[in-house]
Amino acid sequence: MPKITIAQNILAANDTIAQEIQQLLATRGIRTIELMSSPGVGKTTLLERTIERLRGQLAIGVIEGDIETGTDAERIEAAGAETVQINTRGACHLEAHMVRDALQEINLIGMRLLFIENIGNLVCPAAWNLGEDIRIVMVSTTEGDEKPAKYPHMFAVSQVMIVNKIDLLPYVDYALEKVRKQALAINPNLQIFEVSCRTGEGLDTWCEWLIAFANSKTY
């Protein structure tokens, strides 16, 4: 029986589109961050607070991925950023072609930094490149404190980890040091920010880093 070699990356079609996106954004001088977490960690709230703080300093755009509804995009728009909503209608992660289509609907002129907020999910998004420059994984103190050990792939492919809701540390059984340790054991180069989007703690440091990132050419 004939046998033939295929030798192709399973996600090659996705990777090709992701490279096109990266080139398009690089040509326009736009730095891109993919933001990933489980549901309810505060990705959209972080973006709202960030956009408000950096208004007039850094033009930010957001591609909002959700399974259903446009409420997150409405919140981002109200905070003052260019935004477009992708609804995946059931699919658990964004793929590069969805981002490519979304880029047709967002005004890129003057934009310096683009966030791609993925579907709330700590498993599936890790496999799909979306054309981002870096990936940020976000966790919060109201979840279990074993997220890095339980979902290591996500932490291995990210460059930055944000721990949100640190204002609640006195009231929850969340061992922050353990989370830090677990995450660094998987990815020793991971940069870590600890913030509270509610009180604003840690957001100055995060925003300063973000401005430096937007001005940099490479991570």
Binding site: M1, P2, I10, L11, A13, A127
Partner: protein
């Protein structure tokens, strides 16, 4: 085949009680769909009448549940007469790293990237992230 089509087929199958205990279907479904698209293209190119087998290389660190992937592949393959009944073979590639400090190569357990020899944390991943369609066997 569109993803929506694939998802609907998966939903119909699961509702019919076809499988118990298959989780993370969506993630593996999308990967299975990419495999089917690649194989369909190759089958057309080779004028294959029937694809009998497909071999994949999947890294241990790619977060793919191989049972789910096989299930999704078989379900999607059954929708295409050329692929129906094709068997999926999966070669698992171990997650290994090369230590930048002492130059030893080691197996990475649960993604923890510490060198067991010198205890340093600086390394390069050598293997384990693969997601590849290697080859297919077919009848003309």
């Amino acid at each position: 085949m569109s993803l929506i089509h694939a998802c609907n087929a998966a939903a119909r199958y699961l509702r019919s009680g076809g499988v118990k205990g298959v989780k993370l279907v969506m993630h593996e479904l999308a990967i299975a769909q990419s495999v089917v698209v690649a194989v369909e293209a190759k089958a057309a190119e080779c004028n294959a009448a029937r694809v009998k087998g497909v071999r994949l290389k999947i890294g241990e660190a790619s977060s793919v549940v191989t049972d789910s992937l096989t299930f999704c592949f078989e379900m999607l393959a059954s929708l295409d007469p050329t692929l129906a009944g094709a068997q999926l073979f999966i070669d698992i590639v171990p997650h290994r790293a090369h230590c930048r400090h002492c130059a030893s190569e080691f197996s990475v357990k649960n993604f923890v990237a510490q060198c067991p020899t010198c205890k340093e944390w600086s390394n390069e991943i050598v293997s384990g992230t693969e997601l590849q369609v290697l080859e297919m066997e077919f009848e003309t």
